[in-house]
Symmetry: C2
Subunit: 709 residues, 2 copies
């Protein structure tokens, strides 16, 4: 057992290094020549000693960060003079600096003990105050919520930016540690290399240390031996197994376009683009308030959640008023268990938001490829481990989407003699980010439709986490099912895994107090002789009284709709106004509920949960997820079974994927997506998009090929 | 019971007439003034007597059809000189004329008995011959498959177009009748109006006959009393119920753009368009062979299936060869049971392909709205009831789609120090049709991706079939769950219903002989002490030996992948090459298996079936569906449990929707879509799209707003 922990602790496994080896071995670096032996003692040879992990442990990851981020757009926004305009606006550069200054003089940080800031974000004002606030009102008091580690202890602090007051909150007896800082991650990629014994295990495999890369792999939690110590940044023990496994070849694994040989038989497509010569139709007021068509919402990057959508309101087509739909929505947690119980793999059960920071891993988007032309790019302003602010440029994009789809249509049949053919193109607004959590890339879209629907879509791309094997062909494998995955190439296995992405959705349908209604679609038998039909389906409404009524597992043969309604507000003909959550393709976690990873990921035990609003319950896997034991998850909160009828409630939705890799996923995976919808259900009096005009030729752009322009 | 049959036979129910009444009442017709009394005796006052159903029974619906079809594009293709180039090309105008001439002199049609052609389509040559055929070879003998009714009997004929030979096939003891002709449909909208008693029931409701429209509603099958007579075109009995139910008001039900009052507060979007200034990248050779990027397939309109995609092949990125994926794919049948067991509703259990002709109902597409700019439009050439050819213009469109989505991406994390960010935009090719089966509009997309994936998507839009009620508010309703639907507006109920769309997919993965493999994802428990993990998931492959092994119902908590593999062909590392069917959101039929509609729609009892290829088994609900009893369905064929391992097999997939209407669906429904994918799984040696280039600014079009152009 002990050696297993250490292996994880090292955050290095041969399989991991190999996938990186594939992709990095041909990079145009010119490391200084060194003999293999020299490299055994890396500490004297840094920074090159870390080879592909070129950074030494540094105090200012913001610098490292900035190196990488040449803003793709030259008109780069200067954030130094940013000021907040809305109570939910994220902390600005000057506010983060002010927090740092305040804390420097606080007792906790005045000692010589080492400290690090794991999170410095806006402490959002009370929901009631935000709901009352209107543009033009004076801004609510600005506060920062800080998570810091000082002298080996975690602290939760609230810093009043105006008064300088610091409130220290009780962290309680929580297990687990805060999200890793970028410094934690870079250090842990460097730490193993400073250990000569470790380096020897690499060289003995015939791998040049210069071709090695280490990754900071979170280690889950597997029992008492791992408790009460934060395992990171230091080699405790080395496990050296699988030496006989050959190193897979790098051939055909470089995925960069510049490395491709282009087959002349391959037919390419002519330039194609979403064009808006009059520009996009949305505006972004005061940096964060997005207004488009009948929608308005507040949007901000967040280091843990990625993006946060707040105060989403839609215009009623009849009254013209803006009506509340959702107070706040974001990616609360991810859970990615791999399905290999053996030594180097069993612990790979990532929780990317709480362990790595889903927003911290969101790299700058690539204009014209990640987002179409005319996209608006929003930067993130985050704090480094030492509290200094830095800019993650082009982290989020906002764009209008026209995909050739049909919003609604109807043609009359010729038998009626009516010459009616009414068709409306579907144009939507998309908010997108892409987090590259080590090998995997998650693309998260919030798509707003003019009919009031919000589609939340997650795409998976990037690189598979692969495993070494001695096999080069499946005909050598006695029990192929025991490979824990698929042989993707000679000596390379793609290991089976799941992805779960859990969304926090604080629905406020026409007000904060809502109810959750399961509309069960149930077969009814007709009494004999009453109808030629023997059966039909009925929709039976069940209002959830307490949390356990709303712990939902989907069943194809016992289907339901899931409504969040405002029981105090009805349509003209008396239906309660509501929004429903509409699932699409998804997967459910099948792991044992008492399996340690599933205890931590217990928020995936249901596809839907509903909890009463509680500002301390935002992170489905708990506030401190790294090495957590699962006693602070959504599943635990929901077991309290609090009343949820006609209350301010939060809906939690988990989108899942099973991934049995195939050769097409190697060396890079085509995007796989799924989504779910928040859809008005008797929210509007009637179809809200009748007034959307059709396209006509004379309004469309006039375009020329680039060359002839 | 008897009066129920008649009510259905009349194909008129108050609820139906009302929905049409809503939408038609304000149309700019100027019917000749007539007194109400005059109109009671319609036969003397045609054509206006039928009011909104303006056509008399006619012999040439092609005329009626042509009236409606002003080709949207002035450069309308003249089909009179069309000649076939490919063995699967549909019958041309001259071929249909030739068939008609041949049959006129055939014994069956020489008598004075009335006859009608219910289907005149290409009799496709044997699959083996088509597979051997190459461009440049002489065309295979051209034959027509004809379904005709003569003197009250159905006949299946094969007509050799060259030799003039006519073979009469045995229709067997099948129940049911052929697909309605357009003449059947128009006549049955007219027939009730020629009955004074019927007209009196309308007038007694205070409805002006000029505001009435009738629809030809298929009647299902509910027992012996309905057997052995084709119920259509003639009033047998009148059921007159629900007189007290008020007529809903027409206010706010006209969905046409010209009828909308535009709210100035409503913000509209600037022009947005998918632009390709160098034109689209696909070609359509010889009218039907579509070539795009790495794809090639044969495409044709079909009166029953809508569109048929044949001989779909994808280019291997390594060898450059075109590899077979699918021999033939199409919408085989639809099943739309309504969930109201009462008098006027229980029989509404439509099978739109077999009863109405899914292609016959596909109206011309609206350029710029149904399909984006640069779309290519394909016309259908069909035969009318008298055997004359007519053109259904712009029935199918083909276009390239760029939706701002990401084909694949990967950014390196800053901790690695690697400046890598590779992103590829996703461009696809879409084949679209939209069938308006009376009130509902079905949009069917076949979307081809460069990574080898085919997405088959169905969108539902159009008008709800609604029901009258005396209620104007839900607070008047004692048991709301007994409404069989939702109160949408005063006196209007949207009745709960399901939609099932069943696809025929003759997969030929690298050859005709394939196997179906269920890859079951199963929880495994680890033996105590072997791993800190207690459980993980394993992929267990089960090859289906016979048909019953492949009768699949999806289970979220017992999930599987579904592969069609070529067991004789393996990748370099030994995986069988395959395609998998990947479900997304769907619904299952919950009706009793012994309910008469479900017997007829028994092909929806499973989501997946696999049968051995049999050219007579193409229509999941049977060849003759109208009034059929369900003894010729996919469910019956599959019960034979024939061997399917390493055989030429056909995969059947059913996409389902439960629809509990809501106010947003009235008076017109925003499109609701779902889809499933056919996706390569170890078909390619590795990711097939590495060579797709990224977008760069200099290649993109240069566009101006229309006004300034």
């Amino acid at each position: 057992m002990e050696s297993r922990n250490i292996l994880r602790f090292l955050a290095i496994s041969l399989s991991v290094s190999l996938v990186l080896f594939f992709t990095w071995v041909h990079l145009p670096y010119a490391p200084q020549p060194n003999t293999t032996t020299d490299l055994l003692y890396c500490s004297t040879n840094s920074p090159w000693c870390t080879s592909k992990n070129r950074f030494q442990p540094i105090n200012k990851p913001s610098t490292a960060d900035n190196i990488l981020e040449k803003p793709p757009n030259p008109k780069h926004h200067n954030h130094e003079s940013d000021t907040p305009h809305h109570p939910l606006d994220p902390l600005t550069i000057s506010e983060i600096n002010r927090v740092r200054t305040i804390l420097k003089s606080h007792a906790l940080f005045r000692s010589s003990s080492p400290f690090a800031f794991h999170s410095v974000v806006l402490e959002e004002p009370d929901k009631t105050l935000v709901l009352q606030w209107k543009k033009g009102d004076s801004l609510l008091p600005r506060k920062a919520a800080v998570v810091a580690r000082v002298a080996g202890k975690s602290h939760l602090l609230t810093v009043d930016i105006t008064t300088g007051e610091v409130a220290v909150q009780e962290t309680g007896s929580r297990s687990g540690y805060p999200t890793m800082t970028i410094e934690d991650m870079t250090s842990s990629t460097w730490a193993p290399l400073s250990n000569a014994d470790f380096n020897r295990t690499i060289i003995e495999r015939g791998v040049d240390l210069q071709d090695l890369a280490c990754l900071p792999i979170s280690l889950g939690w597997f029992g008492e031996s791992e408790e009460n110590r934060r395992l990171i940044k230091e080699v405790v023990e080395i496990s050296d197994k699988g030496k006989g496994i050959p190193i897979p070849k790098a051939a055909n694994t470089d995925y960069r376009y510049s490395a491709q040989k282009i087959n002349p038989e391959m037919m390419f497509v002519n330039p194609i683009s979403i064009e808006q010569p009059k520009g996009p139709s949305f505006t972004v007021e005061d940096e964060h308030l997005v207004k488009w068509a009948n929608w308005e919402f507040h949007l901000k990057p967040d280091p843990r959640a990625g993006v946060i959508v707040s105060r989403a309101k839609v215009r009623d087509p009849d009254s013209g008023e803006m009506r509340n739909v959702m107070y706040k929505g974001f990616t609360s947690e991810l859970f990615v268990p791999y399905m290999d119980p053996t030594d180097a793999w069993y612990f790979k059960t990532y929780m990317d938001a709480g362990e790595y920071g889903f927003g911290l891993q969101a790299m700058p988007l690539d204009p014209l490829n990640d987002c179409p032309r005319n996209a608006y790019y929003m930067d993130g302003v985050f704090a480094a481990g030492d509290g200094t602010p830095y800019v993650r440029s082009h982290m989020v994009c906002v764009f209008e989407r026209y995909a050739g789809d049909i919003g609604w249509r109807h043609s009359e049949s010729p038998i009626t003699g009516m010459e009616i053919r009414e068709v409306r193109p579907k144009v939507t607004l998309v908010v997108r980010m892409a987090a590259s959590v080590a090998n995997y890339d998650y693309i998260v879209d919030w798509e707003f439709q003019t009919d009031g629907l919000i589609r939340i879509k997650v795409g998976l791309s990037g690189i598979l986490m692969v495993k070494g094997t001695s096999y080069v062909n499946t005909n050598q494998v006695p029990g192929q099912q025991n490979l824990y995955g698929t042989l993707l190439s000679e000596n390379v296995i793609g290991v089976i895994h799941d992805h779960y992405i859990t969304f926090y959705l604080d629905m406020d349908v026409d007000g904060s107090d809502n109810s959750f209604v399961e509309v069960n679609i149930k077969k009814q038998k007709t009494p004999p002789g009453e109808s030629p039909r023997r059966s039909y389906l009925k929709a039976i409404r069940n209002v959830a009284k307490t949390e356990k009524d709303a712990q939902i597992q989907f069943k194809l043969y016992d289907p339901s709709e899931f409504h969040v309604v405002n029981p105090m507000k009805r349509t003209r003909v008396g239906n309660p106004v509501g929004y429903k959550v509409v699932p699409a393709g998804t997967a459910a976690s099948l792991l044992d509920h008492d399996d340690p990873p599933q205890k931590r990921g217990a928020f995936t035990n249901n596809q839907i949960w509903v909890t009463p609003y509680n500002r301390s319950e935002q992170w489905a896997g708990g506030l401190f997820v790294y090495q957590s034991q699962g006693e602070d998850t959504l599943a635990v909160w929901s077991e309290r079974d609090r009343p949820i009828e006609n209350k301010d409630i939060v809906l939690w939705y988990t989108l899942g994927f099973h991934h049995v890799p195939c050769q097409e996923d190697f060396p890079i995976m085509p995007t796989v997506s799924s989504s779910f919808d928040l859809k008005p259900v008797n929210f509007f009096e009637s179809n809200p998009i009748l007034r959307i005009p059709p396209n006509v030729e004379k309004d469309l752009p006039v375009c020329k090929p680039a060359a002839s322009a």
